[in-house]
Symmetry: C2
Subunit: 126 residues, 2 copies
Amino acid sequence: MNYSRQREQILEYVKSVKTHPTAETVYQKVREDNSNISLGTVYRNLDRLSRDGYLLRIKMANDKDRFDGDVSKHYHAVCTHCNQVFDIFTNYLKDTDDKVSKELNCKVLSHDVIFNIICPDCERGF
Amino acid sequence: MNYSRQREQILEYVKSVKTHPTAETVYQKVREDNSNISLGTVYRNLDRLSRDGYLLRIKMANDKDRFDGDVSKHYHAVCTHCNQVFDIFTNYLKDTDDKVSKELNCKVLSHDVIFNIICPDCERGF
DNA sequence: CTCGATGCAAATAATTTGCACTGAT
DNA sequence: ATCAGTGCAAATTATTTGCATCGAG
């Protein structure tokens, strides 16, 4: 994989925040430093970086994809009101993949968990 | 909500299968009995029925949405090779929502779990 | 009769892709 | 020099929506 300034900037930005930005947000932010970058390049690199394990792609139920610079095993919580995404580090399920593997008699690669929440800010707003 | 033949047929079909069909598949199947039905109507009704709790909408990571006539609490496994969806009834997490609620100090509505698997058929094919 | 539901087609929106050009090695 | 990566714009694709008409209550 050849070096590219665009890819470096994209990876650096996503790794630097805990906000789980969308591709569009990454585009806007990187553009502040590199006004030439195109949205297509952002999409291409986010896709590549997440498939190569440098980032996590979070597929949202009713919203655009989000990206997470923290590739350690953890879950996510999504506010059903404002769509903000939070990290959940506790209670990671260890032996569950094995149990499911036995139940279905097949290979289990991984699992994802999403908690649907009302975040404190939105709770207050109601 | 007014009665409609289309909605009845859609609900009946999804409830009758364990295949977690896509909107397109539902459209094709219902069309065998009712050749007038339109794809828009299928989308409108699947959306309505799932928001009203008669069906489950499963948002897929890299594929179109699927629908599930079984609205009881359970998880799903998806074959990363053929995209087939399986039900997982064991190991439903009970007190996890409470734990997360305490961790984030917020209201937790529900959670979804998806297991990424290689199904037996695809395993054999490799 | 009234308004919710439909069929059809056009619109939407996120993401992907073709292509000519630029830049890394 | 070669070919991976880019910018741009057009294409793709699932889903949604506007509107005239139809059908349930």
